[in-house]
């Protein structure tokens, strides 16, 4: 014999647990029994309930969420219970309509011009003749911008109907031969080319019309003009380019204006836009001389960005109109979309202009404040 007898220790332990004396057992033994799934540890929660001061058997007492008309009229508000209010949830957005973000920015720019005494030009013709869009601005007919590649030409109406003939002859002469101190472009100017209709590539075409109109006055009066309207470029489309966009333009026509005046006018304008730090780079436009690209230090982006373009209109443009020789015209321009996209952190122009704009973004678009 190896052992005297068999003792079932586990059975003995289980009997102790059954008697409710589990605390007397070692932890190791209990863990072992648990592992072997012979015992199960369960929790029993005990509650002690007493009657509180507001004890009631009446089920109808409820907590009010809000003051109501009935509560006021009945006077029950004095005795009613009010739930504590959760101030941290969002309110219900008000219903209503909304204005378009780009047009909100347009309104701000319009106001800047009006505050500074500028007169709005009538720009309601998107269709323009090459004459007013290019030739009257002394832009030569072989200029690449007049390529079908960049400009929308029209098949209907293909040609413009009326151009003031005596003015046209003076423009032709200036292109072909020059005169009044200029050697001109010296090429053969074609009226048929000038008659071609296009979708205007800049609102400077309107500025030209207005200056011509001004020159037809019996007596010259100084003017400050502005416009903000749509222009068209037939170019490859990408994230920041659509075929149509808006141009902002300001111009001053007065005796003896100088380059310093142009810089001053631009500073005055952009200061109200919120950019006070400017610098100017010599540039080239066919119809302005001098020409300057305007760079501004953008406080939000913390860097210098190109914010506009400017110049003094060439005498070759102004003299055929018949403006007095010491009248000079200074002008500057920028696009409307660019400042809007910067301000509202929009990277794709299709999120701003056109039918792909998300309506919700129009609703959620903040007030346009240039001072912030």
């Amino acid at each position: 014999r190896v052992a005297d007898g068999v003792e079932d220790i586990t059975q003995h332990h289980l009997e102790i647990v059954n008697k409710g004396l589990v605390e007397s057992l070692d932890k190791e033994i209990i863990d072992n029994l648990k592992r072997r799934k012979l015992v199960v540890q369960s929790k029993i929660k005990l509650f002690k309930i007493e009657k509180g001061p507001k004890f009631s058997l009446n089920w109808r007492v409820k907590q009010e969420a809000e003051l109501t008309r009935e509560l006021i009229l009945s006077g029950d508000w004095k005795t009613a219970e009010f739930r504590s209010f959760n101030f941290n949830s969002m309110g219900i957005p008000p219903h209503g309509g909304h204005l378009h973000p780009l047009l909100k920015v347009r309104k701000e720019f319009r106001e800047i011009f009006l505050e500074l005494g500028y007169e709005e030009m009538p720009t309601n013709n998107f269709v323009e003749s090459s004459f007013w869009n290019f030739d009257s601005l002394f832009q030569p007919q072989s200029h690449p911008a007049r390529d079908a590649h960049d400009t929308f030409f029209l098949s209907d109406p293909a040609e413009t109907l009326v151009i003031p003939q005596d003015y046209l002859q003076r423009v032709k002469k200036m292109h072909e031969e020059g005169g009044k101190g200029s050697i001109g472009w010296r090429y053969k100017w074609q009226e048929s080319e000038a008659r071609k209709n296009i979708l205007r590539t800049h609102t400077t075409a309107i500025s030209s019309r207005m200056l011509y109109k001004l020159s037809q006055q019996a007596v010259f009066t100084p003017k400050k003009y502005f416009s903000i309207d749509r222009v068209y470029r037939n170019e490859t489309l990408d994230q920041t380019h659509l075929a149509e966009f808006h141009q902002i333009e300001g111009l001053v026509a007065d005796y003896d204006l100088t380059l310093a005046h142009l810089i001053g006018a631009i500073r005055q304008f952009f200061e109200r836009y919120g950019i006070k730090n400017l610098k100017f780079k010599p540039a080239y436009n066919p119809y302005t001389e001098p020409s300057m690209e305007i760079f501004g230090y953008h406080n939000g982006l913390k860097k210098w960005v190109e914010i506009g373009n400017s110049g003094m209109f060439r005498p070759e443009m102004l003299l055929p109109m018949g403006l007095p020789p010491n009248v000079r015209v200074i002008a500057w321009g920028l696009s409307l979309e660019r400042p809007t996209m910067i301000k509202y952190h929009i990277s794709n122009i299709r999120d701003l202009l056109g039918h792909k704009v998300d309506i919700t973004s129009i609703r959620n678009n903040p007030i346009c404040r240039f001072d912030k």
């Binding site: 309509g97 269709v127 029209l154 009326v162 090429y187 610098k279």
Partner: protein, 610 residues
């Protein structure tokens, strides 16, 4: 490497935001130069930022910095220049101008055109008239090419061909090894089959017709073939031995090709525009004149017109003087320009000048060099004086003009803004859509018949830009189409211009300011759109007068109008004139825009409500 990478990245980031240049020429030429070569010529090394600032002051822009494959310590600077400065299109010209600008070079180059006792001649035959009538020529004597300058020589021709030559259609350049050919030269136009030569880089002789076929496979030259391919005669330049120098504007002959060993270069520039031909010739010779034995001296060629018998020596450097009173420069720039300083400012900009006393004050006479074809008028001189002075120095004394005027608005714009505010307050959300669309969208898809009033575009790049819209429905419906995630009811509006043909306006077309509002919901909601109409009329003080004539009334419209659902469409009439329509859109129209809810719409002519 990391250092310059991060600077150029920030530069290109800031430049990637460069938006639509509105005033400046959209085709801005870019010249690529080796930074090290450029700095060597300037005699100074700049940091990228310093160089960017120098370019800024001068009027050009450092656009991009590219690494050079296989070269560690040099990079390519891509510099954007003004489209009117052909003298900056290559390293030679750019470096020359900048050197003078920074003061590293005090002396301006003296460009001289000289004819020897027996100049070479180019005889112009009558046959070129009407084909490509202009030719001008020059000789660069005792020139020495290096690999770099030779490449620059070829590149400049390419650049000029792209820019002022308008892709060779107006002007084209041919350069030849003068020692391989002998004058007198002749310029004529012959039927393609009669011209036979081995074109550049081949030994096979072919006639004009075979040449066209052969070159059709050449991707580089193929775009230029249409300039002459279908003409009955092709322009061709021969030497006295019948060797073909070139077939303008397509290709040169292999016989006279230029190599690194070429010592004397013959340049012929053929064109349809004489002014541009001369500018191109001047540019070629002044740029590479720095490599000839006598710097900047070009040998003239006699161009003989066989019809008139007149001989012209080209290029012609008869000095062109632009005179301007010093007081003009003052009064146009707005800063005091002294007679001591004005010549210095002009010299900085490569413009030599002389001062002259006159009864009315000092006159500045600028001798415009052949590199500056951009100077047309005294205002160009004035700009250069201002650049020489420094645009940004003018900032300090600048003030706005004292012009006293009062502001004013265009009545239609003022009314539009007032209406926009009110309609938004009425619960409608404003959209701003594109004014160009396809013909189908403008008519068929909205159930309208083509009335011939739409303005049509001749050269759209895509179908989306075939016509100008004649109503505002399309933009609003497409907006609804792209906003399927929005909860109904959706209320949108737009007050904007449409384009219409009209003989009453000088261009033959006009804009019209219109208002369109749409309501989309599970029910068509005609009454809501109607409510908006009533509100707009109330705001414009137009009373509802169903029987009288003093206000507005609504009259049921014909069921033939396919834009609207029959029986749910009416005309809006104000004081006897129809100003618009109101109704529920036809289900077919709704389906055309992939919408699953009915839509009611209001469309008014705002100009009639002014």
């Amino acid at each position: 490497l990391i250092g310059y990478l991060s600077v150029s990245l920030s530069l290109s980031l800031s430049l990637s935001l460069v938006f639509l240049e509105l005033y400046s020429d959209r085709i801005m030429p870019v010249v690529s130069v080796s930074r090290n070569s450029l700095f060597k010529r300037l005699g100074k090394v700049y940091s990228e930022e310093e160089f960017y600032d120098l370019c800024f002051e001068f009027g050009i822009e450092l656009d991009d910095v590219d690494p050079i494959e296989g070269v560690e310590d040099d990079v390519t600077y891509k510099i954007e220049i003004g489209a009117n400065r052909y003298d900056l299109l290559c390293l030679e010209g750019l470096a020359r101008a900048l050197r003078i600008f920074i003061g590293a070079e005090k002396k301006l180059p003296n460009y001289v055109a000289r004819a020897p006792q027996h100049p070479h001649t180019m005889v112009v035959k009558p046959s070129v008239l009407g084909v490509r009538g202009v030719v001008v020529c020059a000789v660069l004597r005792h020139i020495t090419f290096t690999e770099e300058s030779y490449k620059s020589f070829i590149d400049l021709q390419e650049k000029l061909h792209q820019n002022i030559c308008r892709k060779r259609t107006l002007v084209s350049i041919g350069t030849h090894d003068l020692d391989s050919i002998s004058g007198p030269f002749s310029y004529s136009a012959l039927p393609p089959k009669e011209i036979s030569f081995a074109p550049l880089n081949t030994t096979t002789v072919m006639d004009g017709e075979s040449l066209m076929k052969h070159l059709d496979k050449d991707l580089h030259l193929r775009p230029f073939l249409p300039i002459i391919r279908d003409k009955p005669t092709y322009p061709v330049i021969y030497d006295s031995n019948g060797v073909v120098l070139s077939l303008p504007p397509i290709i040169n002959g292999d016989h006279s090709k230029i190599t690194l060993n070429t010592k004397n270069v013959f340049i012929e520039v053929t064109a349809t525009d004489r002014t541009k031909a001369l500018i191109v010739l001047d540019t070629m010779v002044t740029m590479f004149g720095e490599y000839t034995a006598v710097p900047f001296e070009v040998e003239q060629v006699a161009v003989v017109d066989e019809i008139t018998g007149i001989t012209t020596l080209t290029p012609d450097y008869t000095p062109r003087i632009v005179s301007t009173p010093l007081s003009y420069l003052d009064s146009a720039i707005g800063v005091k320009i002294t007679k001591e300083k004005v010549q210095e400012y002009l010299r900085r900009m490569c413009l030599p000048s002389k001062l002259e006393d006159s009864p009315s004050g000092i006159v500045v006479n600028v001798e415009v060099p052949p590199t500056r074809s951009d100077v047309l008028h005294a205002c160009d001189v004035m700009e250069d004086v201002a650049i020489g002075y420094g645009f940004n120095k003018i900032l300090d004394i600048s003030a706005p003009p004292r012009t006293l005027t009062v502001g004013s608005q265009q009545p239609i714009n003022k009314l539009t803004d007032q209406l926009r505010n009110e309609i938004a307050q009425a619960g409608f959300t404003e959209v701003l859509t594109l004014s160009l669309c396809s013909t189908e969208e403008n008519y068929d898809l909205i159930g309208k018949v083509d009335d011939g009033l739409a303005v049509r575009i001749a050269n759209p790049k895509t179908l989306e830009y075939q016509v100008g819209r004649t109503s505002l429905y399309v933009g609003l419906l497409k907006t609804l189409q792209h906003n399927k995630q929005a909860a109904v009811p959706i209320k949108l509006f737009e007050i904007s211009d449409v384009l219409l043909k009209s003989d009453a306006y000088d261009v033959g077309a006009r804009n019209k300011r219109q208002l369109c509002a749409v309501y989309m919901n599970t029910d068509a909601g005609f009454e809501f759109i109607h409510g908006l109409l009533d509100r707009v009329m109330l705001l414009l003080e137009i009373p509802y007068t169903p029987h009288g004539a003093g206000g507005y009334t609504i009259k049921e419209a014909s069921p033939d109008d396919k834009t609207f659902f029959p029986g749910r469409c009416a005309e809006v009439i104000v004081r006897g004139t129809k100003v618009g329509v109101i109704g529920t859109l036809h289900p077919l129209v709704v389906e055309n825009f992939d919408l699953q809810f009915p839509v009611s719409a209001l469309h008014l002519d705002v100009e009639l409500l002014l």
